[in-house]
């Protein structure tokens, strides 16, 4: 019986080549898009799932309020928080502090390795998180200061120790940055999975921070300096939502309102599983993704596959007249309805299986460009990876495919098997009105989805264009950033040598300007939490961003001076306590209550407990992406060995120019690694999730439109075949080709227009919601809808007219003779 089902199915597929092609092509493309997207979705959802205690691990996050206003929404908090929580609450069974050091230079066996990522952690980190050891004892590895654990790949990099007996590396030493004491290797752990939000090359013992020659006292147990990351482990089964209600009293107990830290502290717990995708926090330590992108793409994937299955339903039921006779014959020869249903299910299964095979081939062909788009090395095996909710994505995919096949197969099977055999066999079959209405409804549904996707793509595209075209208030084009000379000691001669280096570098052909600043565009500036006007007796304290710059900074970046003056060499001093001049941006002027930029010049502000003279006011500039609003900022005249170098260059002869800069850098800052990047590229990295969203939205919306059009083509083909006689009669009576094309197209166009009307309001609401994440955003104008509607009508019309014109041009005599 089954063999007979397959035989008939296969012959039917071969017989109706056009419809089979449309069905299989649509389903293959839909499935391929779905499989590609789900790889990415599953990878993003798999973050931190490898941790054995993932369900009990939480990150402590901290909102800070000043004058009732949120001034910091961060993953950072005070160094005493973890211990205090463990001491206060029996629910907390473990905690670890984490302090990152990024872009470090590690010296090992006289070799230097730049851009190393280190985390200072408590020993408890090793039992809370699952980073298994290859050598060393995790129970004690980080209990002594100056202990270090390296990963397997780091061991290979430092000691050429791949597949080595790693225990022989225990006891060897390395030097981090300019630390005078070497670190002793006490453990080697496996490589960090790509789906770990915490990434590191080296782990060092946290107590190193407050031991040694220059202890960092606040890093131990302190409630005034919010600069530390904390993870806690709750007792299994603890409901973190109800547990965190106790934090209000905790905050009051340790911070006494705003007495201790100068701000009111609110604490929350963020489950480890959410750290990667759901981080809207400042000072993010880990690798973050975007839940919007993940869920958005997932929905698009579902849309695409649903559109493909709807094609199958539409075309199968539209062609029911062709299959009706077969059904009749089978019924009279003894087939029961359930046998017929099974037969049509087999046919659907076969088509879906063929489509799946093509889909897998398509995925294999498209994997490389797709990986380039999402910037991960993904493959089909990622579909089987454990992720959020266990294997929900793999199981969901299987369930989706089965449901899709069954639903798309069952309806046609149900319809086809219900025919009255004798009527059908006598040729008195006519398509049911319900069936026609359903098909129209499904076409409207398909096009409504595609219209939403088209509107979405247009909005994302225009928002991205808008962001790129916005004036930042500074010019970051053609600026190269050279890594700071962090291995040079900051002593009395450092500033002089930096100034000389700049002067000499400026002489190189192709160099237009050189400056040092402790942060560059795109980086998070530090904050001052207690800034006020000296003459202001209201007791108002404000929080502002802060940056240390040299006197070339404003010129190199083209930042406008609105009042007063720029810094001069006389403003600088190697002793930070002797600095007393400050430049404010326009937002800071407003916040501090000066009536105009000029009014601030010559006035004093309190900052860090001392008085600073306002010497200049500059225009606002965007330090970070336009997702974030402008912030009040103070600039101070300070130098640091951690300040990167910004070089404004003429990109012609870049290699030669940079070789000259490198030679000078090596002469002035010997022992440092010379490494550089283009600032505009790095700045635009902030939009990488948005760009990914925009690009994938566009690409997959294209897929959806294509598949929907395939379906429309099939229906148009069917409709013109059905109306062959009518077309013939009309032509004989004098209808023109245009009139015939219009006749055949108008029904479909009406459906597309209905779809457009249905889709526009939800599309508007969804995209409006998406735009809320941007401090600077476009208004969704009427033209977006007009364009989307026209596009939908245009593609539909093009698709249909392909078939309609052919029918209209056919010789009417043939059509009438066949009757």
């Amino acid at each position: 019986m089954l063999q007979n089902y397959f035989k008939t199915a296969w012959r039917n597929i071969r017989k109706s080549k056009t419809f089979s092609f449309i069905n299989i092509a649509g389903l293959s493309i839909g499935m391929a898009a779905c499989l590609l997207i789900l790889q990415y979705v599953n990878f993003e959802l798999s973050f931190d799932q490898f941790n054995a205690h993932k369900n009990d691990l939480y990150r402590v996050v901290n909102d800070r309020y000043q004058n009732g206003k949120l001034i910091q929404h961060g993953t950072i908090t005070y160094s005493g928080i973890g211990k205090a929580m463990q001491d206060d609450f029996p629910e907390v069974v473990n905690h670890t502090r984490v302090e990152p050091g990024s872009g470090l230079i590690v010296t090992c066996n006289d070799k230097k390795f730049g851009e190393q990522q280190a985390l200072a952690v408590d020993n408890s980190f090793l039992t809370m998180f699952s980073y298994p050891f290859l050598a060393g004892d995790p129970a004690t590895a980080l209990k002594e200061p100056y202990s270090a654990i390296i990963t397997r790949v780091t061991a290979d990099r430092y000691f050429n120790a791949r597949d080595h007996d790693f225990s022989s590396l225990i006891g060897k030493t390395l030097v981090l940055g300019t630390d005078s004491m070497p670190y002793k290797i006490t453990g080697i752990c496996r490589d960090i999975p790509e789906n770990s939000h915490l990434q590191f090359d080296v782990l060092i013992s946290y107590l190193t921070l407050y031991s040694g020659k220059y202890p960092y006292i606040q890093s131990n147990y302190d409630f005034t300096n919010s600069n530390f990351w904390h993870y806690i482990q709750l007792r299994p089964g603890t409901d973190y939502r109800s547990f965190q209600k106790k934090f209000e009293a905790f905050s009051q107990r340790h911070f006494e309102g705003n007495k201790i830290s100068g701000s009111v502290e609110k604490f929350y717990l963020q489950p480890l599983e959410q750290a990667h995708l759901y981080s809207d926090f400042e000072y993010e330590i880990g690798r973050t993704g975007s839940a919007t992108v993940v869920w958005g793409l997932l929905i698009i994937a579902l849309f695409i596959i649903v559109i493909a299955w709807v094609n199958y339903i539409n075309l199968s039921t539209a062609r029911s007249a062709e299959r009706a006779r077969e059904v009749g014959v089978r019924k009279v020869t003894g087939a029961t309805r359930s046998q017929l249903i099974r037969q049509f299910l087999t046919e659907s299964l076969l088509i879906n299986m063929i489509a799946l095979v093509f889909a897998i081939l398509l995925v294999l062909a498209l994997q490389t460009p797709f990986n380039a788009l999402v910037r991960h090395q993904l493959s089909l095996s990622f579909l089987l990876q454990r992720s959020l909710g266990g294997y929900s994505v793999s199981i969901g995919l299987l369930a989706l495919i089965l449901t899709g096949i069954l639903v798309s197969a069952f309806y046609p099977a149900f319809v086809l098997s219900s025919f009255r055999p004798i009527l059908v066999l006598k040729g008195k079959f006519s398509a049911s009105k319900k069936g026609i209405a359903l098909r129209k409804g499904l076409v409207v549904g398909q096009f409504a989805i595609t219209v939403v996707l088209i509107i979405g793509s247009l909005v994302v595209y225009h928002q991205m264009k808008y962001l790129n075209e916005q004036e930042l208030g500074m010019n970051i084009d053609q600026i190269l950033i050279v890594k700071p000379p962090m291995l040079t000691n900051f002593d009395s001669s450092f500033m002089a040598s930096e100034n000389s280096f700049k002067e000499e570098t400026k002489q190189i052909a192709g160099i237009r300007g050189v400056t040092f600043a402790n942060t560059v565009a795109g980086d998070e500036m530090s904050r001052d939490f207690d800034v006020s006007r000296v003459s202001d007796n209201s007791g108002n304290h404000f929080t502002v961003r802060n940056m240390g710059i040299d006197y070339e900074y404003l010129n190199v970046y083209g930042i406008k001076l609105l009042a007063g003056r720029n810094f001069t060499p006389q403003d600088y001093n190697a002793d930070y306590n002797k600095l007393h001049t400050v430049i404010l941006n326009e937002s800071a002027v407003k916040m501090l209550g000066f009536p105009a930029p000029a009014a601030a010049i010559g006035k004093q502000i309190m900052r860090g407990g001392s008085r600073w003279d306002v010497v200049g006011v500059i225009g606002d500039f965007h330090q970070k992406s336009l997702r974030y609003p402008l912030e009040p900022t103070t600039l101070v005249p300070s130098y640091s060995t951690y300040s990167p170098l910004s070089i404004k260059i003429n990109p012609m002869n870049l290699a030669a120019t940079m070789a000259s800069v490198k030679a000078k850098y090596a002469r002035f800052f010997p022992g440092n690694l010379f490494d550089y990047y283009f600032l505009d590229e790095k700045f635009s990295e902030q939009y990488k999730n948005d760009r990914l969203f925009g690009k994938s939205f566009g690409i997959f919306a294209g897929f959806a439109v294509f598949i929907a059009c395939l379906g429309l083509l099939g229906l148009a083909l069917f409709a013109t075949t059905q109306r062959t006689k009518e077309i013939g009669v009309r032509k004989v009576l004098g209808a023109s080709v245009v009139q015939i094309v219009l006749l055949l197209s108008k029904d479909f166009i009406r459906l597309v227009l209905i779809a457009f009307i249905i889709a526009s309001p939800p599309a508007y609401l969804i995209m409006q919601q998406w735009l809320q994440d941007f401090a600077y955003r476009i208004n969704i104008g009427w033209w977006v809808f007009a364009l989307a509607g026209s596009l939908a009508v245009f593609v539909a019309l093009t698709t249909i007219s392909f078939q309609a014109i052919r029918a209209a041009l056919a010789n009417p005599v043939n059509a009438l003779r066949s009757e």
């Binding site: 007979n4 035989k7 003894g334 004798i422």
Partner: protein
């Protein structure tokens, strides 16, 4: 074998109700060859649907071998149908995607007959219908007469007690038509009951009895033998 009494069937659309069978009654004995005649729309096809257990009557009784089958459900009807009834149509109604052999095999598949037995039975019947040499051809490669022979082969392959034929020669020339009618007569002589709907007086003369219908009712019955 078949006894219908007061059989009724209506067709309803939104505005009109059409009476297809109006309290129709007659009996067909086992081994009879009955022709049903009448103008278009008189209810012949509806009658054939009901007799073939393809449709429900709206009223009356239908005894098949002494069992009341008028209100059998779809499953029971299909089961009874596939074991006892074979159909022959004017337009042959072979499945284009299946070969001659596969078309004839179809009823046996639905009857659950095993592969080797199916093969044997199909070959026997193809041989009998003299179309064995065409076994691997598709319907569209055959002449009308050959197609109808295949259809007859398909109707008889499961040895049905009853054959319902709906204008079996309507699409054939006279020589092919006569051949088919001869086949039917042979089958009848071997014991198969035949009920044939026809417009052809010529064909009706092959039967034992003619039932003439008008407006869903029997008007006359002529016994020929």
């Amino acid at each position: 074998m078949i006894k219908i009494s007061e059989l009724q069937k209506y067709y309803r659309t939104e505005e009109v109700e059409t009476i297809a069978l109006n309290k129709l009654s007659f009996e067909v004995k086992e081994g009879e060859f009955v022709a049903v005649m009448g103008p278009s729309g008189c209810g012949k096809s509806t009658l054939l649907n009901i007799l073939g257990l393809l449709d429900d009557p709206d009223g009356g009784s239908f005894l098949f071998n002494g069992t009341e089958v008028a209100h059998f459900n779809e499953r029971k009807r299909a089961d009874l149908r596939k074991r006892n009834i074979g159909f022959v149509f004017q337009s042959f109604n072979l499945i284009d995607e299946l070969t001659v052999f596969e078309n004839v095999e179809l009823p046996l598949i639905y009857l659950g007959v095993k592969g080797p037995e199916r093969k044997q039975r199909v070959e026997v019947v193809l041989d009998k219908m003299q179309i064995m040499h065409r076994r691997n051809h598709y319907p569209q490669q055959l002449s009308g007469g050959q197609q109808q022979r295949v259809a007859v082969a398909r109707a008889v392959v499961n040895n049905p007690k009853l054959i319902l034929a709906d204008e079996p020669t309507g699409n054939l020339d006279s020589s092919n038509g006569n051949e088919v009618m001869q086949l039917m007569t042979d089958l009848n002589e071997q014991g198969t009951t035949i009920i044939m709907v026809t417009h052809s007086e010529h064909d009706s003369r092959y039967s034992h009895r003619i039932i003439r219908m008008l407006d869903g009712q029997t008007v006359t019955e002529n016994i020929l033998v």
